[in-house]
Symmetry: D2
Subunit: 450 residues, 4 copies
């Protein structure tokens, strides 16, 4: 992921320092476990732990360089690290990595990194939820036009819109939690995963200490259906981001102007056109969603490794693991800020509801005619006729409102009382389920901080 | 593809009758070639051709059933067909398929079917081009607001919009032509493609007669990079459909209302809301684009068959070959009709240009200030100030137009003459390149029917 | 999905008859709920239920035709159905669909159909699990070579291979269960989902009766992140199928021959080459996996519908809902049968382990040298030297086994006792964790039928 | 793309220095064009060119930092560059970028960068072609078994295999050339592409100097169908890489051992198993192919920008443009080296052909029986019987070769002469089309260096 879309906290998870720290932790824990089983001496394990901890605490650029240098010779990243570690630990280093394969630490480390990354993503989602909850309660009864097919349908509440996205991000939180469980497994099982040179209790010990579960059958690698499911969760979350971003982009259109992304004083929308205030954040989120979503295909293609393992997944994961989590972290954070600071224009929303001369109440009138005993098919023709008459003369000197056209229609006149027509024109009836839905979504307590 | 999105002409290409007709043609041509080479008797080849032609001409449902019945026994579609054919031809049928493999006729037949399908798609694209050309010339000088980021930018011509899509579909026509060439190859090369039991001249003969080129190295199958490239061309074309459909959906929004899909008298937009007129065709096209686009991934995954061939591509192609071409054929045809009958509202376009009080001319004013010697940075601040003052009071009692705000600004007053300001407010200056661009796109002759 | 890959039980779920049955059920339940709330008369609800039930029970081809005929006129599938239903129910039909929109029954019906489809898929997965469990226990201690990178690594157990796939399909069962919960929601909320003309208790009632949950915020449609997550679960499961299919394809290679798909007496592998026995089932599964996997992208693209809804998702879902579930149902069933009847050749497995002259035991020898105090780097060189000497003369007259080369190596001789070398050559040590892993995967009870 | 898979030459194309160099070139050329048209003074254009050239020639890290610093303030990369440039040029900088938008230089620059990148990719493909040509001619008549479904089919030539891949990469060369033409267009058309403040001849001039074509309708952006088609070409090429990589992985399997990736003296295949020599390069290529292929979906999704443009494509392209070209450049180069140094084992190929006891000649025997007048169906049974008898006793004490089983079969004995059987067992007959095919692929001249 290019630096422009990278936040330091997530980048740190994928930095070599963090990787080496986890690698060492796995090796040190494995030694402790082996010492506990009497396979190596307790002293050796303690030396490894102490000297290793010290080396990791003092880890600097020169250590990074040294490891890179060894890797340039050996062409093997794990061997390079172990060689560097041996230089720090001394002779007891011969007990490090005993009976293990590179994959044991690579895959277990990836599980830890993805867990850390997911924790950050969950924090991000919480921030999005908070921003959405705030807008939902601020605009619980703010009327706005509901649109199907981009065409005005019937009024709804802007808060309810926000609540819907809130519910969707709640689902994404669940999906990320499930995904976190999926990938949080540990493999210390040796070549082709048979524990031929390792006691399975080493794996159990390391797993418990790292808050992972032992992988039931690791075949030198942790099976990649887990990672595929993980990237699916990222992709669905990214798509939810796109849905909300698309909503904002639509609502900020020049003709709609119901909301605006916050525009900094002094900000320039366009170098050539000083009047511009563009929804660039939500457009950016749309693109980032495409990126994160695209990882799902190579992640799925990674599942069918040959036999006990091949290494085709490696180059894929070296890219999509950081790119996917960094991209989604950036997008969620940007989204949370954008929604928190979103400028909402209730007056414009109200004006837009009325901008079609009241035809958005056609459904209610149709029902009123039905209640008055008019056959549905006939009622439809009458109401459509009045609506189209309104619509086509909109803004014209001879234009009339839907209410006026209805009143003037001979087939309406005798059938619906004027006060019923007035009631049908009242948008507030569309708010009647709001309280009930809010209870369903937010619980009884309402806007409590998580 | 579900029947709802299937046109008969494209479906016929993928019907069993057409497949069997092509299979027979390949076998008959191969026999003619072998007869020409003296490998089988001329009489046998003639008998095969005559009786086979007769059988294909009389082909009926009962033949279909008979072939299905044989396939149910042999579990092999090609053997089933050859057995049926032998029943029709008699003893000379022993010269049919000599030295060939099933793939020889399967892959060569697919090349013929995809060629036929592409010809239909090219006809469809021509219809789209005609509709776009018509709208482009009808609205060559129709002013409309250009939008970047969904925000009003500067005026442009609606015809130029159409011309841009025209140019894009011209490119898609080229891509489909290239794709047609890609897949139009013939393989009659026997097991693993070595011609061990076949003369390569049989392949040349069949290829020439079927207007295909011999595949340089068919390894029992025609290499699948060709088909992958083919589905890429469909996917790009589908994405262009989506772009145009998205434009129409945007322009038909209730707040924009610059164009409308044709609405039949008596049509119902919604059962519950009689006022609705929805852009359902362009929304449908958006979905179809997603479908056609999705085939590109399995088509790419089909490339890496194992060794000389495996059969994993088969189940994929049995679905995406008909689905992709049928879906795109339907979408292109629907698009052509939709664009041809598109209802355009130039008055609304003009009204929308002015709806922001003239701020869309801010770029021209900025340049005028620059020409008057004001530093770019200062000029920007002045114009932005006037634009925002206009924008934020839009439609308010104390609202003023951009022109009025500019005139009232002390830093403008002495620097730009009123007539220069007037000129800057004139949208027609944005049409000045239209003629030149039309010549570039449509050639000198203008709207001539292809 | 083409008929070739369609099983009747899954096809029936997507047949019009089933859809109409569910549509009626939703309408009838909604009427019952409204009767309970006093909004319509109990008699009307009863009449609707009774006459509707009778009509659905007697539903025939002529009803289908009648509905199609009405749809051809109205161009609206739901209106067509309601019109047909009205013909069956009589005047009380005016209480049907009151205050609802088409989406209410379309989306709730889709939830029911996807639930039904998932139940079938879960049954299929159970069959796969049973077949894998059977093979796992039949070959719990059958030694076979483990391969990394396609290269012999160390021995493992064929049963453990099967157990690994078993564990993976257990995960897929969980994923499908989660996916089923994701999509099992009900929306009876009217235009743009505000319940303006409907009591939310109608929704609760219908939901409960259909074993669905009320959708917290349906905006006329059920949000499509649910369906995207659903197709992700199908895609991951399909990828697991591909992994197992790839394993079988590899093991059946002519040079490997450790397993074979069951070959029917009288079956023909190839029309041209009578000696062929091809793994066509697993190749077919590979292709089907590509197809099912490809649906994940359009499903994700469906999430970002515009505002309260647009209809772009519809054409996508009309295809991928049946295609995805039918394709996966067929693939899982085929896989279950294939694994159940898989022919396993333990002797060939044993022979393959030894086919490299014993070099597959190099890791154990390396550890033995390390235990004997040889520096890891030196030990590596010695063992690699002996392994390469074995490998490069394999099958040559002067070829020697790895054991022989080791014994002859001067640096080994004094350091490792012959009986230690013998022990290192014993593949059975690679089985030592099998019991423990089986307990982890299958529980204590072992091969109990689910 | 992570550094591990990045070559300096391709990285340099995407480095800021190259981007700024191209940006300046576009601005300088535009000034020259405007000077030619009399819109700005010739002196100003000359000053801009000279001072700018000098600044670019002296461009250093401190310039980079200065631009970053300005961007941090203005949050706009193009404005940051122009401000820096103004500092270098002085007052005449007010004529730079006159009437243009940021997109004019961004999109034109991208066209130049993608052209440069494609030139490098074409060089890479040539290297792949050379390596394949070398192997094709070195092994023109090297017999190897052809495999369908992973099962031995009939012999073929290893050179012909290579020639097939050669032909495929020739096609990819054509696709990349077409893709290069697709994206090599220039847009200097101002806000929403109307040339309102710019003469179209400026665009023509810049285009010609940069060896680009003017974009017929740029709507502030160059239409993204071009870029989508570009990424499709990369994706197809990547899939061809995967096909060849898969072939090598298969041929290096322990049981097959027909080829090997070059193994450096002193190289370690596995830290735990000294005997390992793994096809890690081809596995790596498989993964890289997945990555490059995955870009095709977001590139296609980028096509449907809103109206004249939105900026959702930008974040996508900032990643996939460098990642796609860097990844493919690395993969092609790695592939060329791998194929050039590939170790081929003709003896093992010969041994493998015979390893099934000769049953791979079953097709020829079938034809011989047919020629002898045996009905096809009967002949099939006889040959299959002999083949299966051979196959099932392979390597057993009582095992017999296919030739022996045929000779012993009573139904063969009287019908086929022993010398005909002998001839049928001769693999060399499968080479008879090799010369003809080589002429088709390589032309008459044979192995001439491109």
């Amino acid at each position: 992921m290019v630096p422009r879309y990278t936040r330091p906290a997530m980048a740190a998870i994928w930095a070599p320092e963090n990787r080496y720290r986890i690698w060492f932790e796995i090796e040190a824990l494995a030694c402790e476990a082996m010492a506990g089983l009497g396979e190596i001496s307790v002293e050796a394990a303690r030396t490894i732990r102490e000297r290793g901890d010290a080396a990791m605490a003092a880890f600097s650029q020169s250590d990074l360089k040294r490891i890179d240098q060894i890797e340039a010779e050996t062409r093997h990243d794990v061997i390079a690290f172990l060689t560097w570690l041996a230089e720090k630990i001394g002779p007891d280093s011969r007990f490090v990595h005993l009976g293990m394969t590179s994959s044991d630490i690579l895959d277990t480390c990836l599980a830890v990194q993805l867990s850390q990354a997911t924790d950050l993503l969950l924090t991000d989602v919480n921030a999005v939820l908070e921003a959405l909850r705030k807008q939902a309660f601020a605009h619980k009864y703010t009327l706005t036009i509901g649109r199907s097919h981009g065409i005005h349908a019937e009024p709804t509440s802007f808060g309810l819109k926000m609540a819907g996205h809130y519910a969707e991000f709640e689902r994404n939180r669940e999906r990320l939690l499930t995904a976190r469980t999926e990938i949080a497994t540990c493999a210390i099982s040796g070549a082709v995963g048979t524990f031929a040179h390792l006691d399975p209790r080493v794996e159990s010990y390391v797993a418990e200490k790292l808050k992972l579960k032992p992988e039931p059958v690791s075949t030198q690698v942790i099976p990649r259906d887990r990672h595929a499911a993980y990237f699916c969760a990222l992709a669905v979350t990214a798509s939810s981001i796109e849905r909300l971003a698309t909503e904002v982009r639509h609502l900020q259109r020049s003709e709609v102007r119901e909301v605006e992304e916050f525009f900094h004083p002094g900000q320039k929308g366009s170098s050539a056109m000083p009047h511009k205030r563009n929804p660039v954040l939500s457009e950016n989120l749309t693109g980032l969603a495409r990126l994160v979503r695209s990882h799902v295909i190579p992640a799925l293609e990674n599942v069918a490794l040959w036999h006990e393992r091949d290494i085709s997944h490696s180059s894929v994961e070296r890219n999509i693991c950081p790119d996917g989590t960094i991209g989604l972290d950036f997008a969620l954070t940007r989204l949370a800020g954008m929604m928190d600071k979103l400028v909402v224009y209730p007056e414009q929303m109200a004006a837009n509801i009325e901008s079609l001369g009241g035809v958005v109440h056609s459904g209610e009138v149709l029902l009123a005619l039905a209640r008055a005993g008019v056959l549905r098919e006939d009622a439809y023709k009458i109401v459509q006729r009045c609506a189209m008459a309104t619509w086509t003369r909109l803004g014209k000197p001879d234009g009339r409102t839907f209410r006026e056209n209805l009143a003037a229609d001979p087939e309406i006149a005798g059938r619906i009382a004027p006060e019923v027509l007035d009631a049908a024109m009242d948008s507030r009836s569309h708010l009647r389920a709001v309280d009930e839905r809010y209870r369903l979504i937010f619980g009884e307590t309402g806007p409590v901080v998580r």
